[in-house]
Symmetry: C2
Subunit: 379 residues, 2 copies
């Protein structure tokens, strides 16, 4: 120790913004602690190298009060610390400090040199609109459910949903490779059912199988899906890791739009004084990791997000990140046809509206319920 | 819908135990909601198939009061719902409900038919003791840090730490593949430094590089580590996904002991009324996913775990799971030589005690500090 590393650091930095609980003094101490904990993870008084102290440890650039007992800290980290890898970026932004209370990551900004590493979403909002040939209205989505249906039943549903004009028909995220609806058979038959409906309607509905799977199985599932003509893929980055999604998004041999599902991500956002903000996690990180649309539970459904948190999430899907396309927010989680006008008002046209179970509530004619859904957004 | 799936379900079930907030009525409603949310994700009144209602949806088997406004619910899920995959098991245990407040998973029990799918830790407590030839005392661990040191400096440290008799010398978890200490060079030189020290001491210290890395890079890093003669591997399942760790643990061509690091997992355990219990996440799930030791921040260090939570964690590392070996708890996070007697009393001999920065605080002779650490546990 003491000697400088052989390689000079560029001096370029990326920024992270945290909300910190406590008095100003406590918040400042927390901010300083983050600078050490997320880099050298070493007692400051034991660092004998001035080079490391000045060039490797994070820096508090700003601290301002945002509410009683709550401060906003802007911290800068050296670009090289994040190692050009999403896994290490996530680690620097919130790895060890996930174990400490009173810290919430509410934003980050990467310089062009870092953003270049991430191709981000392959389609994004414009690309997905073009692929599905939908402009001027929100896109419509639904899920194949309930779990327990056979492949024959699920594919019959998929056919009706596509006949009714739903743009994106995804697997329920709990459909994996269960014996009662095996992945390969499901993907083949549901994909074919949607294409058959498209031939009848002239529309371009797509089927998105759930490829959330064991690490050694993901690639095979994605290949099966592609070969079966799936129009997109669904996955839960909270379960497989954000970088597993990035890997698929970056793979030119796949080339399909991706929807991210928030399963197992909720603990990061559920307490306002801890974790990651909705915009940072569901919006920015999913987007950096290549999702073209981020599914989340809308306010007023069966989950816990507030209108403000949903706004923040939308902001994360479109906030300026040079070279990284804006993506669709996909409000879901107990939505209903009755709420479509309100959804339209809240989200505008740049959203994918996902209604699951409720589509099955409106009379016995599922195709007709889908057409009604569509009419509601074409107004 | 209405027709039964072609394949009959076995009727075998696995169990999950949740703590739920609220009155008894509210807790029961939450428990019922979990049964639906984690399986069919569909309004109960719309399920027309009795088969699905009875055989696919979870079942509340017990609800008892554990404290004021807090109930313990035992829920059973059909084995087939978890699809024989760790990813889907995690999804059933806590996927969507991570988005709902007032629910904490505090335990689970899998039948033999499910446990058989998971080889679990390759070494476990006994295997690691045998590998390192250590019996009758806790194992000793430390981390190579601070970030910013060159490979030459880190390998010099590794040499001294091994000379001093530390059993497990791991990369700091923030060391990835940074330009100032590239992975391949680091692994080669630190591994060689530890082996050289072993030749001098006759001990069996091992070096565990951090292989937390992008999804398309993990396999290569693990291979580099193995070829360079690394004695074990460190990884953060919160970042790469639990199943990515399981994949490496199950790979016979790797065959090395694994330490799990809790980075980016803290949000699951930080609020007592939500998430996963310490025993369930750091203990049981890490163990099922193949970690031989689970690093966590000990109480009274720079983090937030309480003594009770640490006890619960230890319980998860050794609770009866037929066929899955008990693993080592690895208390860390700001520990010091002064606290070793207390650590010994709290954890007994079946632990790996990890002291990082503090080893560097005791005089300029690092080798001597390590020997002192060792003497403290050999008493």
């Amino acid at each position: 120790m003491g000697d400088a590393p052989t390689l000079e650091l560029s001096g370029e930095r990326f920024r992270a913004v945290y909300h910190l609980s406590g008095t100003r003094e406590e918040a400042y101490a927390r901010a300083r602690d983050i600078c050490l904990e997320q880099t050298v993870e070493y007692p400051e008084d034991l660092i004998t190298s001035e080079y490391i102290k000045e060039r490797v440890v994070g820096r508090v650039r700003d601290l301002e009060r945002v509410a009683r007992g709550r401060y906003r800290a802007l911290i800068e980290f050296p670009v090289e610390v994040a190692a050009g890898e999403l896994t290490q970026l996530v680690n620097v932004l919130f790895g060890n400090i996930s174990l400490k209370p009173g810290i919430r990551l509410v934003g980050f900004a990467l310089p062009a040199s870092m953003l270049r590493i991430y191709p981000g979403p392959r389609f994004g909002r414009d690309g997905l609109r073009e692929l599905l040939s939908v402009c001027g209205r929100p896109l419509l989505a639904t899920a194949l459910k309930p779990m327990g249906l056979s492949v024959a039943e699920l594919s019959r549903l998929a056919h009706q949903l596509a006949l009714g004009g739903i743009d994106l028909i995804k697997d329920d995220h709990g459909l994996a490779d269960q014996p009662f609806c095996p992945f390969q058979e499901r993907v083949l038959r549901c994909g074919e059912a949607v294409r058959e409906a498209n031939r009848a309607t002239g529309l371009r509905s797509i089927y998105l199988p759930n490829v959330t799977a064991p690490a050694n199985e993901m690639k095979r599932r994605v290949e099966i899906a592609r070969e079966a003509g799936a129009g997109g893929l669904l996955m839960a980055p909270g379960i497989i890791g954000l970088d597993a999604m990035r890997r698929i998004a970056a793979d030119d041999s796949v080339g399909l739009p991706l929807l991210s599902h928030p399963a197992f991500q909720g603990s990061f956002t559920i307490h306002e004084d801890h974790g990651l903000s909705h915009g940072t996690l569901y919006g920015m990180l999913n987007r950096l990791a290549g999702a073209d649309g981020a599914i989340f539970p809308n306010h007023g459904g069966r989950f816990s997000f507030s209108p403000g948190q949903c706004r923040d999430l939308v902001n994360g899907t479109e906030i300026d990140m040079p070279g990284i396309r804006p993506i669709f927010p996909v409000p879901a989680g107990g939505m209903s046809l009755e709420r479509v006008p309100e959804l339209l008002e809240f989200y505008g046209r740049d959203a994918i509206l996902l209604i699951g179970g409720d589509l099955h509530r409106h009379g016995s004619d599922l195709v007709e319920s889908c057409r009604e859904f569509r009419k509601l957004v074409e107004l």
